[in-house]
């Protein structure tokens, strides 16, 4: 059984992600205890709402340092939606620093399309990430977001088109992030979660 520790944030819809991970064969433990996070094999960091609120909650509960040291010790990490944005240095959504596990800044969509983007959008897969093993290039995933990360090209494993091209998935070592909601993206989303659990 593959163990996953799902960070139990009050600012995220945990139940659906848990159910989706379990559908992929993972054994899921919920925790917001820094000690538990430090020893986890795999971490999933969810998040909805504002970047600064989510980050402040992590910092306030000591989880930010616990996540960083777990990653340094080799724990695999998957950030989902705002959890994906938290992996980066900073965001336009508030002045709070992010986890800084990946270089880059999170920026708001600018242009003339409705914000937030609500709905399915195709992901062009670059760099052959294990996250997208067995998922067809261009497969749509379900997104709800007003901000997107500007990641380094070498960390980018998926891009999508909204106001120009934006980064929709990243991977560096054992740190992964997806801007979309795999738990709402039907079979393709479940496959991505299963890939994370099995490959990472």
């Amino acid at each position: 059984m593959k163990n996953v520790l799902l960070i139990d944030s009050p600012l995220a819809n945990i139940a659906n992600i848990r159910r989706a991970l379990e559908a992929g064969g993972a054994s899921v433990e919920l925790s917001s205890d820094p000690a538990g996070v430090a020893g986890a094999e795999r971490l999933v960091l969810p998040g909805v709402g504002r970047f600064d609120a989510a980050m402040s909650w992590l910092a306030g509960s000591g989880l930010d340092a616990a996540i960083r040291s777990a990653v340094e010790a080799g724990t695999a990490l998957l950030g989902i939606c705002v959890g994906h944005q938290l992996l980066f240095d900073s965001s336009e959504e508030g002045d709070v620093r992010g986890l800084g596990l990946l270089r880059g800044r999170v920026r708001r969509f600018r242009g003339s399309l409705p914000v937030p983007q609500i709905g399915w959008n195709r992901v062009a897969m670059t760099g052959g990430s294990p996250l997208f093993e067995g998922v067809e290039d261009g497969t749509p995933f379900y997104f709800v977001h007003s901000y997107a990360a500007e990641a380094e090209p070498e960390d980018t494993v998926g891009t999508s088109e909204y106001e120009g091209t934006y980064v929709s998935a990243v991977g560096r070592g054992r740190v992964y992030g997806v801007q979309f909601h795999p738990e709402k993206s039907s079979a393709a989303g479940l496959k991505v979660l299963r890939n994370f659990v099995e490959a990472a």
């Binding site: 003339s112 399309l113 409705p114 937030p116 399915w120 379900y142 709800v144 039907s186 079979a187």
Partner: protein
Amino acid sequence: MSAIDAAMRPVVREKFAFIPAIDLLEGKVVRLERGEFASARSYGTPDEVVAGWDVPLGTRIHVVDLEASRQGRPVERTAIEQLVERGYRVQIGGGIRTPDDARAWLRSGAERLVLGTLAAENPEAFRRILEIAGPARIIAAVDLLDGAVRISGWEKPSTRRVEEVFADLEIMGVQTALVTDIRKDGVLKGPSFDLYRELADRTSLRIIASGGAATLGDVSSLARMDSLAGVVVGKALHERRFTFQEAVARVRTARAIPERIIPCLDIRGGRVVKGVKFEGLRDAGDPVECAKRYELEGADEIAVLDISATTEERASSLDVIRRIGESIFIPLTAGGGVRNVEDFRAMLRAGADRVAINTAAVLDSAILTECAEQFGIQSVVLACDARREIGGYKVVARAGQSGTDLDAAAWCAEAERRGAGEILLTSIDRDGTQEGYDLDLLREVTARVRIGVIASGGAGRLEHFREAIETGGAKAVLAASLFHDRIMSVGEVKKYLAAQGLPVRAGAENE
């Protein structure tokens, strides 16, 4: 840049070009209704108009020299030279009859020449202009009225059939044709999608569509058509129905974002039910079984509406929302009986991703703002039930029982301002009739809002789904009895839409 330099630049071939269009008369930009000079209305100088539209330099602009088409010689050369000097690329049409006319326009810096009358009236002159300018710089204009070719300022009918005209153009080496459906031009009723689809089978020419693009949905729909190389748009920009930048953004995402198919579960007493025009309900199955089957077939989202909650003055059945939410991995939109922010919150907690508000918003639209602020704009769906009445479409509240004086499109625009993230628009007249979605209603609403509109009420045949998206401008299409009664599956709808060139997400059973 000099005019000659501009003329000698290589012609860039785009995938699909959104081409702003202006008609010139006496140095001013004007619009004619159905090609009649008497109806001319002035909008200012070309510079003022193009700058007002926020069109970036380097954009190709379609210019018609109206007086030239009557006089048969170039008239507006100064205006064209000014546009070219500014850095715009110009395709010019109107009255180009002789090689000298063509040379004059090329010297003025025009990138492409739009030739209408000439190919039929003087093929020899047409061929010589093709030689002088090169085929990449020639656009053959073909005006159609009810499927017949019209020429010369739309005043003379031609005796030749559309197929003959296209075949001749191809033989002469023409690569691009500008096709105007005169009936649709300038009246903002939407483009002739069927015509453009047919033309793709009848000719190998690259077609630029002209006439009738009135909404951003029209722009998206045209940008997806394989036969089309671009669209020429004038009136909708003049009337500020959308901006140039908005249109270009839609062109870029036209194929990236799949249109959603949403099976709808109307719930009463814990069971899926379905009626006609909101009446005569009958049992259509277990909600969880239905939802799971639909996800497997490729549904992009499930809607669950507790249709008797409001009339029974109670909150939505949370148990059904919870049970469905726990059995699917696609978004769930729940509605019915939302009276206040607490009801809304309870439905989100039960597992809904988004909650539809209908009657409560009609009573006090502040609920939309409160919910958007507390839970995010993406979770707020305005459900608008509309009925055609004398004087237009009116909003009906309380599950079709309470008529109001609210104009449906105006109400939806108001809801967008108040914080709705999407609109679920149901035609009561079409509900359960399988006669097709109410396209007029959809166009009225999609012309007024920027957020997505979900079409609901009337699906009966495959083409109804295409019409709702293509002509109606819907971003999602909802249906109930068709799927419940297994008249067709979600997968069949998606296969059909994909074959028609509309972007859809493949379902699990297709993978």
